[in-house]
Symmetry: D2
Subunit: 339 residues, 4 copies
């Protein structure tokens, strides 16, 4: 098996981060594709804004690959760092294993050169997650976003989660980002677990959707010696996240406000804090609509307003009501994003 990891001893004193019984890792780091940039320690660079792509469906709930292509042609013109495919906004839990792979493959092909493709490969079991991750790697994913397993809540203690992510990272052909989304899973990845796992040579970062900015700041500090990249999981706190040291954001709202979020990133980097703050403030309420308040059904409706294909959600998700759409429209108008 190809190994995308190396230099174990550099991290955390080589603290035994190999599952017992495995051969020691001695392979040299080889960035999978030279077109992508890497961090100072040679890791895949995942900085920047990433839309977690909404999977487009036809009215019969089959995947609308043509619409996906059209959406990507528009997104490709925006200076995104890359794409997250098969994340929570992609309704990954409603797709079969085959569908998940196919959508990743499609996005890899449709993405503009230089875009990093992060694929959501998490399954409940460790073995399924490893297989899914490597199949997604085989069709071209650059990294994998691995959500916490969550069904047996009582059994998902820190020991189990550390074991799970370590095994997945050990056996994955591509680097791994941890993915904590307690609003969906009911599991909030503990800082201690994240810090331990940040020492693994093949675990390069974290997407945290919990929104606790103090937790993120704590993690930035505690993992900085490991070249660990932390990404905001929502546009609602993107600027504060940059401020405390996050490297980017995976933001549902980037499905339709991608240019604006990239602008926010640039304003921050240019030190134009006042303009950045103004933009951040305008984004908060619309972002809440397409995340916490109305979820993927809201997101898909808003995408239509901005010229993207939204289309239906898969059941059991339900379309938003016309009353909810009216609220959402008002919020977007008041924020000046639609007229």
């Amino acid at each position: 098996m190809r190994r995308a990891v190396s230099n174990l001893t550099r991290f955390c004193g080589g603290s035994g981060f190999i599952t017992p019984g495995r051969a020691p890792r001695t392979a040299t780091v080889v960035m999978s594709v030279s077109r992508l940039s890497s961090t100072s320690s040679g890791r895949l660079d995942v900085s920047g804004i990433y839309p977690p792509i909404a999977t487009p469906f036809n009215m019969d709930e089959s995947i609308a690959f043509d619409k996906l292509t059209e959406n990507m042609q528009k997104w490709n013109k925006i200076p995104f760092g890359g794409y997250v495919v098969q994340g929570s906004n992609g309704e990954y839990v409603y797709q079969t294993a085959e569908e998940r792979i196919k959508v990743v493959e499609h996005v890899v092909k449709a993405a503009a050169p230089g875009k990093v493709i992060l694929a959501g490969s998490g399954c409940e079991s460790t073995r399924d997650t490893i297989e899914m991750t490597n199949r997604m790697a085989d069709v071209g994913a650059d990294g994998a976003l691995v959500v916490t397993p969550s069904y047996y809540k009582g059994g998902m203690h820190n020991r189990a989660l550390i074991s799970h992510f370590t095994k997945v990272a050990d056996d994955s052909k591509i680097p791994i980002l941890l993915y904590s989304v307690p609003g969906n899973t009911g599991i909030d990845l503990d800082p201690e677990v994240i810090i331990v796992l940040s020492c693994h040579p093949n675990i390069i970062g974290l997407k945290d959707s919990g929104g606790d900015i103090a937790k993120l700041a704590h993690l930035v500090i505690s993992t900085q010696s490991n070249d660990f990249q932390i990404m905001a999981g929502s546009a609602g706190f993107l600027l504060p996240a940059y401020l405390i040291g996050c490297v980017g954001g995976v933001c549902g709202a980037a499905n339709m406000l991608g240019q604006e979020l990239c602008d926010l990133e640039q304003l921050y980097k240019q030190g134009k804090l006042k303009e950045a703050t103004n933009l951040q403030q305008r984004i908060v309420a619309p972002n809440a609509c397409v995340t916490k308040r109305f979820g993927v059904p809201g997101l898909k409706v808003a995408m239509e307003w901005f010229g993207y294909y939204g289309g239906p959600v898969r059941s059991p998700l339900q379309p938003i009501t016309s009353e909810q759409e009216e609220i959402m429209r008002t919020v977007f108008k008041l924020s000046g994003f639609i007229h």
Copy 2:
């Protein structure tokens, strides 16, 4: 498509329980297999004690079908109403779609004549659930236990859940039981949803693992005109559940204390309340060990004590520690089930 349902108008005044655009149901009820008993209104009778079978794995985590056969040969001698296969205790979330089907098929073949086979067919999406249910029906399942979808917690409101279960029941070849297990899913099926769904001709019952006996009593009363069968989801409140009108129990502890739970049922039915109470009281603490306290990893260890094959759990579940095993052993000793 074969329809196992009928007589819609008898229930809830024929209150529109057909998904729009579908043909009205006029087919006659045909019990799928004559060997099984039916209720007064002609529904599949699911009364009695059901072990939710723990899926045996080999040390490499592959399914140990030979061990499953051995376990079933022992269980077949116990007067169970039938078996639940691919429930939470079966680690169904850790199995591929193909594995789930194969295990059901194996249990169908290994079950003694007259045992009702209830298969856990729930998936996150409605379409996957329907397909899984019918594939399980095709390999011989008599009924399906359909867990609440749970990933998008904000989207799983009553409207979405009613829609989901209605669609599944509409298209399922076999009768459906609702399955609410908030400890795992974070979704506690609302009484109003259950009462509405109890009117569907192809939804014949409920397994509730929440343990709120007042909720169960309320549901028994509120659904009694619909011939709706409610099953306790744990041995911890089996006798109280019988008392308030439940028809049986799906009890993890039946994997190793099956005869004792069938005894408890008989004592209750014979009006020997004092003996039944004594037995119920002895069962509470051991039952807690193999459910809330130590989960499936605890259950599998305890099974070994009683001559069944337990074996390993699939990762990310972790084996219990030796200290936890010691606690569990003490509890079973104090209750007089082991020496």
Copy 3:
């Protein structure tokens, strides 16, 4: 200070249940008032049905002592074991320390001979709880119901709770019952804590409103050698609670359905299980209305229907809406308690 406790060494091997630095307890048990019955080990007998009295207010929110007297005259004709005063249904958190004492004093005087008066004396701090308990004892309370402190949730770990209840019990002139009501406090008293505290000579019982019947059964077994009396905290599971060994119930619904609940108790004791079950089933839905669904505002409205004074709640509690009242009326009608 008078000590109502004794015989420490009889319990739990005299396991150090005296706060360090205190004098050993050698006083003899003296039942505070001979009119009350005691258990086999000489403890205050709290078996039976207890209404947790709703505190009546005038329209200006002052306490309507005259209405309290009138209500008690009616309740005194019902074979209650006694009264709980200043419990959650008594809106105790909305009353000043002085008011809490006065209401207890009033109820003591208005109660028929032989009724046990249990006073809710819990405060957030240990010192306030001790003072309140003893002041309530001074005005005639026979026992105290002490709710879990709950403000600093992170700090209310088992060690803190054991320390709190031990200190209160050490210094209380009257016996103590633990009171766990997680729906209000967010703190669910752990079985381990309860079992440890059941060894204290001045802690004689528990009121548990959580509704987890398996937990109650576990506690009944685990504390039976300590003559520990467990009371159901709701009419919704009163019969199952009796069945698994509880000695009575503190039931909000007893404010208006007191005779019916005493009937249920009698039917159970006479072995008329079928009739008891029927009555239990009728009570579930109305009980839910005056507890979980509509709370004290619902309770006070329902009391009016049965000839008791309900009156307003104290702000910030709000009266139920007319729509909610209509729902409640329908539920009570369907259950046959009103016409």
Copy 4:
């Protein structure tokens, strides 16, 4: 009754924010004490850093007023905006009504000129809260911090909370700040409620301890036309909070790291974002120790390290263990605040 509010019609179109049956408010705004600064619309200016004072106790748990004086003499040398007294860090729930007043009175007298005194006056009932607020005003508090009532969780819906805060604000002699601390109360004040209440002329701000920075940003935008002042409830996200428009912070850590937090504020205001960020990052972990991780018991231990009197907590809070103290000491050392 003196009214500290005015100009109702300026806010929210005079949208009926007077409790029915009350006289219209026409009094002119008079800042209670001229020594304090006011905002552009004439409201009490609460910007800046505020330590929520830990109440010092003697070993017998009585209040150590002399130690309070000593602590304040040190705090008075730090450029705080003022003091919060009787907040969650002040263990207000463990003090009698009389004690709460006395501590406020003591702080008013011991505070350096120009410091704003915000007193925590929240009680469970509306009437008690009004009385407490006005008694605290009478002894010199400039504003009141009113925590959400929380006991009857089911009853504390938006309608109830709006009614409660409106009545308190209507009848309070001093301006009110809303106080949301879901970690303690289990009640997270809804943005909609806050926005409605921000229109009340006597409700001038909010302290939010929830830590959801996107929520705070949303509130800043939504209430800006009402001259509503939002304060971060923790030092863990102070800089991000300033960034998105908060006016200050009520930070437990200011009890011992007051100068550092004031430095952070200055660095932010001077546009020295890099230095501010560095300082913020150093503060996160120590702050977590004295808040979420070890609470008030941890806070009081850490105060001792910095020359303040910490002393014991009141029971049922327990002192931290020596192991926890060691962890805390390590965290403070690693952050460079102690050696």
